[in-house]
Amino acid sequence: MRRSASFTESFRELGLLVFIVIICAIFQIRNHNFLTLENIDDLLTNTAILSIMSVGMMMVILTRGIDLSVGSTVAIAGMVSALTVQFFRGISPVVSVLESVAVGTVVGILNGLLVARFNVLPIIATLGTMNVIRGLTYVISGGAWVSSYQMSSGFKGIATGELLGVSNPIIMAVVINVAFFYFINHMRTGRQIYAVGSNPEAADISGIPRRRIIWLVYTLMGALSGLGGVIWVAKFASAQSDTATGFELSVIAATVLGGVSIAGGSGKVSGLILGTILLGILNNALPLINVSPFWQQAIQGVVILAAVLTNVLVKRNNQRFALRRRAI
């Protein structure tokens, strides 16, 4: 029992890892500049936002939910913080970050309200907020952009600054992932997120505050999207109202690819990180090798499907395994 259990858990991460190694090898063969420190730095920096937000998405999906509004949240949070910087150049980047996170949190709370309080199905609730938030972004920005020169260097430093030669986004992503790992694996609330997703009714019976947990995850998702927003805007030194359109799907894809089950309750941080990295490589490294850009999507889709299907097949195999062991 124990062996098979641990076996199945580790299997997917292993598979992902192998897969990553293989494509890295291929890329390296096709372009020798792929595995240079500098390029890896680029790659990780570009993946940082995705990684940060997929953490939030993992929590949401663990509770059997989904959040389509994250792309719009990135846009509005980024836009608000950028506008503030434009008018008060002086303010410290820390404030901008906090501001952006705050905006994101508000959106998150709103989603949480709809899902946890009014029992609106997550996909619908967030589909609605997605539109509303996107529209609001246009309205508050009046359609204008905030350009590089209107941003203080401190603000842009949020994304471009470095610590010990590692760029801030990477550091933030790492910190958040570590913190998340600790939270989800070693703290009561974290485990209760799993519990709620794994068996909602049991959660009610054993006195877990299900609604509050659900509300919490959407709020956190919003906050992380807010953080993603400010990094995004600082990174590209330009705030637009159509920022990160369709980004929600990348985030969801990364999470699912990382083996977080849409049915809720199961998924591991290690898998999440690998999934994010894999998607990051697919997104950012394909320009390097001379794969025509038009193949990129097709490749992505196939990889995602393959990952999901292996997951199912492994599970089935394991069940058959368990049945054989059963005494008749």
């Binding site: 372009n31 500049n33 359609g143 590089s148 950012n284 320009p287």
Partner: protein, 348 residues
């Protein structure tokens, strides 16, 4: 049940509120729409909303129309798709506008709706990013495509010191004007003078921020001794500027192309991009405005050789366009560098 009725009432109420809110919110943009039916209405449809370049262009158009005492309608879909533009054009047709000035998201996809407009006596012409000759009377070209090609190559030549690898970072590979310019660049490179410039790759950033950045980084990784990046698209050039700045490659790899002063100010000031070019979108729109009125008044019909006076821009003449149609040329691209960027970055 009663609860339900209440909610129902709430919804209808919200509808009633939402609509005025909508109108209020849009009050700034829409130019009195149906309100004053009297004066003739001239419409411009840009690629998508939330694009300052477009705002300037539409601004210029508005100015041009209003100084002639007419009414301007400024429209743009929220996504840069032809589908959305078709819907808007339909709405303009039902509003019986006098002329439509279209900045196309797709060369061919708008042909049906535009021909429909023309069949109803609406004067149709394209601006900046053109549509095919069958679906327009004339095209207002912001700058001579050939001139853009040669100028950019010349710029690369000067920056690189006459030899080395150069790459092009374009928008999407189906963007008509982009491809036209790239063709002229290639032609120019064929001349013996530029024999030592090697065009190593044409990358497509699809005018999407993150994609353009990845593509720019890809170029730098794949071609270590790259000398110049030419980005004839505002999004692409800004992305490339950002990448070069962050990597501290200013002075090693040079950047030029077509960009918005506001977006590029930083990179021109820090020397990553010694200089770049663009026409003045306000003038483009302004010229569009006078073309529209000229077409409506019948002063011009879109035939080669016709002349008309375009307000402060003086006299303009219709010439043969490379794509077989006719066009009106604004003039040579304008050069932005350290000396003038300071004044322009605030304008657009």
């Amino acid at each position: 049940m009663r609860k339900f009725l209440i909610r129902a009432a709430v919804i209808v109420a919200i509808m009633a509120i939402a609509l005025p809110v909508a109108l209020f919110a849009s009050g700034g943009k829409e130019q009195g729409g149906g309100a004053a039916g009297g004066t003739a209405k001239y419409a411009i449809v840009f690629k998508n909303t939330g694009n300052p370049y477009g705002d300037r262009q539409m601004g210029g158009f508005k100015a041009g129309i209003e100084e002639q005492g007419f009414q301007a309608i400024l429209r743009a879909p929220d996504q840069p798709t032809a589908e959305a533009q078709i819907q808007i054009l339909e709405q303009l047709i039902s509003q019986k506008v006098a002329a439509i000035c279209i900045v196309g998201n797709d060369k061919d996809a708008l042909q049906p709706v535009l021909t429909k407009a023309m069949s109803q006596g609406i004067k149709v012409f394209s601006l900046d990013s053109g549509v095919n000759p069958q679906s327009r009377m004339v095209h207002v070209n912001q700058a001579d495509s050939e001139k853009i090609g040669t100028t950019l190559i010349q710029a690369a030549y000067d920056m690189s010191g006459g030899s080395g690898d150069i790459a092009i970072l374009s928008a999407t590979s189906q963007a008509t004007n982009q491809n036209l310019w790239i063709d002229f660049m290639k032609k120019t490179l064929a001349q013996p003078k530029y024999a030592n410039l090697h065009l190593v790759k044409i990358a497509y950033g699809d005018d999407i921020r993150d994609k353009s950045v990845s593509e720019a980084e890809g170029l730098l990784q794949s071609f270590p001794n790259l000398k110049v990046i030419i980005a004839p698209t505002t999004v692409g050039i800004a992305a490339a500027g950002k990448v070069l700045t962050d990597k501290g490659l200013g002075g090693k790899v040079f950047l030029t192309g077509l960009g918005l002063p506001s977006e590029m100010a930083t990179y021109i000031e820090n020397g990553v991009c010694p200089y770049m070019f663009l026409w003045n979108p306000i003038d483009v729109g302004y010229l569009g405005a006078y073309t529209a009125t000229a077409l409506v008044s019948g002063k011009i019909t879109g035939k080669v050789g016709e002349k008309f006076t375009a307000g402060r821009l003086g006299e303009k003449v219709i010439t043969q366009a490379p794509d077989g149609g006719t066009e009106i040329l604004l003039g040579p691209p304008f050069k932005f560098d350290k000396n003038n960027i300071e004044d322009w970055k605030k304008v657009y």
